[in-house]
């Protein structure tokens, strides 16, 4: 059989591990085989690594209404350049994505772009106001992959219980920004010795832990009313940032509760010490925590208590981020650097097992979204990332496809940069140096 693209001498890596070198033949949107063959185009990929495409359960792509910060065209291209083939977008837009029509509009627009595939999350409550539930069933039919009021916190425990119960009956996971609004108050950084000294309002670790503890109780309650029905995941805790939050989830998982969680690249590679610079680029919610928290999160990622990496890609304009620390919005744009950053810092820097990291970027995230795992084998869908494990390049935000052309990692020298991303067999993006047109 003649393929469209032959990737020669490429190292294969998927969640199960490394599978040596192969000549991967791609056609009809699939991996046709791993033993070469005729193809219209041939790519010599000696020294490069082929993996399933990355999957992000948490990105803010800002459409509709906040296109000044990001839009699908820039956010999904940024995703491709970061090695992502699948992205769940958050619904805290203007207006919030809370209707089937809004979901369909996003799906349609993203399909026409032909970049990374979009799986919109829809609001859990109408207008994300935390009061009345949205149309879970109709939203799911329209293409929504999860429900969440992210961007806000779910202050009413009763509403969250109703939402979890109802969403589960239609097979939708609910994800939560788990922070107690009363405890975090106006906190703009981690509460601790540094916030006291810098005179900045602190957001205590207890704000996250207290909210996770409450939400886990709600899950226990909802499960008690669903005798005999065991969803694989009911509640997804977004952007875990604290050691204590991790402990609570570890315990809940040991009990068998259908709970998943994610961690962001920034919470693994930066700490509150960065706020010493007083630069709002480091302002993120939940805040950058301590080195001890970051170490705990790495351990949680390794052992699997943390299911996946969620970027929480949250672009803003430079002018917004150049306000002061009290007024600048929360968020870091990171989808283009997430993989090389963690490959460099965790795998190369700390000996974190490469297949495990890849699992957390792929199948771990897919499990949260109820998407099937991807294996590098004949017949598998060819939505793939090709990355260069060797060449070192500094993060240069000016080159980002994202509209947010600044980064807390600017100047960091990273390895593992993606060089090509295929979506359903098509070269959706390739670095110029490969000489492969898209």
């Amino acid at each position: 059989m003649k393929g469209e693209l032959l990737i020669k001498n490429v190292r294969l890596l998927d969640s199960r591990g490394e599978h040596g070198k192969a000549d991967v033949l791609i056609g009809e949107g699939k991996i046709l085989g791993l033993e070469g063959g005729d193809a219209e185009r041939v790519l010599e990929a000696d020294g490069l690594v082929l993996t399933p495409g990355l999957c992000d359960p948490h990105a803010h792509l800002r459409e509709p209404g906040q296109e000044v910060k990001e839009e699908l065209a820039t956010g999904l291209l940024a995703a491709l350049r970061g090695g992502y083939t699948d992205v769940a977008s958050m619904p805290n837009t203007t207006p919030p994505v809370d209707t089937p029509e809004a979901v369909m509009a996003l799906v349609e627009k993203a399909r026409n772009l032909g970049y990374a595939r979009l799986y919109p999350a829809a609001a859990l409550t109408q207008g994300q106001e935390g009061k009345l539930l949205t149309e879970a069933r109709l939203l799911k039919e329209a293409g929504a992959i999860m429900l969440t009021d992210d961007g806000r916190t779910n202050e009413d425990a009763g509403v969250l219980a109703l939402g979890l119960s109802y969403a589960a009956s239609w097979g939708l996971v609910v994800s939560v920004h788990a922070e107690d609004a009363g405890l975090r108050r106006g906190g703009v950084m981690n509460e601790g010795p540094l916030s006291y000294r810098l005179g900045l309002p602190g957001n205590p670790a207890a704000a996250e832990a207290a909210r996770i503890a409450r939400d886990l109780e709600i899950v226990r309650y909802v499960m008690s009313r669903r005798e005999g029905q065991q969803p694989s995941t009911l509640l997804h805790v977004q952007h875990l940032s604290t050691r204590r939050g991790l402990e609570l989830i570890r315990q809940a998982k040991a009990e068998g509760l259908p709970v998943t969680t994610e961690v962001g690249p920034h919470h693994l590679t930066l700490t509150d010490a960065a706020l010493e610079s007083l630069d709002p680029v480091y302002k993120v919610a939940p805040p950058l925590r301590t080195q001890g928290d970051a170490e705990a999160l790495m351990a949680g990622l390794l052992e699997g208590t943390i299911d996946c990496i969620g970027t929480d890609h949250a672009p803003h304009t430079l002018a917004e981020k150049e306000q002061d620390l009290l007024r600048a919005p929360f968020g870091i744009a990171n989808i283009e650097v997430a993989w090389p950053l963690l490959y460099t810092e965790l795998v190369l820097g700390r000996g974190f097992p490469l297949p495990t990291l890849l699992e957390r970027f792929t199948d771990g995230a897919r499990r949260v979204l109820s998407l099937p795992p991807v294996r590098l084998e004949a017949g598998a869908e060819a939505s793939l990332m090709l990355f260069d494990p060797h060449s070192e390049r500094a993060v240069n935000p000016a080159e980002f496809a994202s509209k947010a052309k600044f980064s807390p990692w600017a100047g960091w020298k990273l390895q593992g940069w993606p060089v090509m991303t295929l979506v359903e067999g098509r070269v959706a993006w390739a670095h110029e140096r490969l000489g492969v047109g898209t």
Partner: protein, 316 residues
């Protein structure tokens, strides 16, 4: 101003900005006080003006209003013959879309030699340093730092006590939200003092590096060599951090009786503006114990010294 000042200036490596006391050594602070003493002499003359900063332009950029601090800086600059450019505009009412950076770069295009910045949020003066190539003086940023206030407090204390070595200084009030407390807790220990910070539990930070924190007023005032009361913002009650004014008065007002816990001659300071009968009982501010007027007068001399050190030090 004598040539001695200039000679002394050239002998030390000085920080380029005054944002807080990071990067400042005890020797540099003492050298600054040396200059401030000379400025005091200038202020005692019939003609209170020297040509030291002729040709320099100092911009006072107040994103948060503060008449006293602004006047003090502007007068200090004028008394050294600098030109003064005033910008004021609350952040909330700044033209739509105009950022701190836009504002500062616009001023910079007018040929400013030094910036005095006051703002209600921590960190803006630090950001300004990245945007401007000129000396920046922090005239108060949010809850974080107010270094010239701490300098004038320390200067006034030195005047009265002679030394701060081993002296117990109690600062009482809303420590959590106080840039004055933070800057004093940074500067006074550098000069040898033992700083105690005291206030209601809801208005204390968890810790500060060089200070002792307590909710017990007696413990803080006991045998103190000086006592400073801070201004209490009424909005703390609205935010639920304090039950009421009477509750604060009952626990933390500095009264004549409570001042008796301190050493007999312990001076009393207040950074102003004062809520009479809230932080301090009745007429304590006017009593012989009070340094409040000295603080204001010394503010002039200290700010002249700061401007002189940062501007002339750079040119020299």
């Amino acid at each position: 101003m004598g040539a001695g000042v200039i000679a002394m200036e050239q002998s030390t490596e000085k920080p380029k900005h005054l944002l807080d006391f990071q990067g400042w050594s005890r020797a540099q602070v003492e050298s600054l006080f040396e200059t401030a003493r000379m400025m005091q002499e200038v202020l005692e003359r019939p003609v209170k003006k020297v040509p030291a900063l002729t040709g320099f332009t100092v911009a006072t950029v107040f994103f948060e209003s503060s008449t006293r601090t602004r006047l003090s800086f502007e007068l200090a600059a004028r008394r050294m013959s600098a030109d003064v450019l005033s910008f004021s505009g609350a952040t909330s009412s700044m033209a739509k879309g105009e950022s701190y950076k836009d504002t500062l770069l616009t001023l910079d295009a007018m040929g400013i030699d030094a910036y005095v910045i006051r703002v209600d949020a921590a960190g803006v003066p630090h950001q300004a340093v990245k945007w401007l190539g000129k000396p920046v003086i922090n005239a108060g940023d949010g809850w974080r730092a107010h270094p010239t206030q701490a300098l004038l407090d320390a200067f006034s204390l030195l005047e009265r006590l002679g030394t701060l070595e081993g002296k117990k200084i109690a600062i009482v009030g809303d420590i959590l939200h106080s840039r004055v407390a933070r800057s004093n807790a940074e500067l006074l220990p550098m000069l040898g003092a033992d700083v105690w910070l005291c206030g209601p539990a809801t208005l204390l930070p968890g810790e500060l590096p060089k200070a002792r924190l307590t909710t017990d007023l007696r413990e803080a005032l006991q045998d103190a060599d000086a006592v400073m009361a801070l201004r209490l913002q009424k909005e703390r009650m609205d935010k639920g951090l304090l039950p009421s004014e009477p509750e604060y008065i009952a626990g933390y007002q500095i009264t004549r009786e409570r001042l008796g816990w301190a050493r007999p001659d312990a001076p009393l300071l207040h950074p102003g503006p004062m809520n009479r009968d809230l932080e301090l009982e009745g007429t304590l501010a006017e009593s012989e114990r009070s340094l409040v007027e000295r603080q204001v007068a010394n503010g002039q001399a200290v700010r002249m010294a700061v401007l002189y050190h940062l501007l002339v030090g750079r040119r020299g």
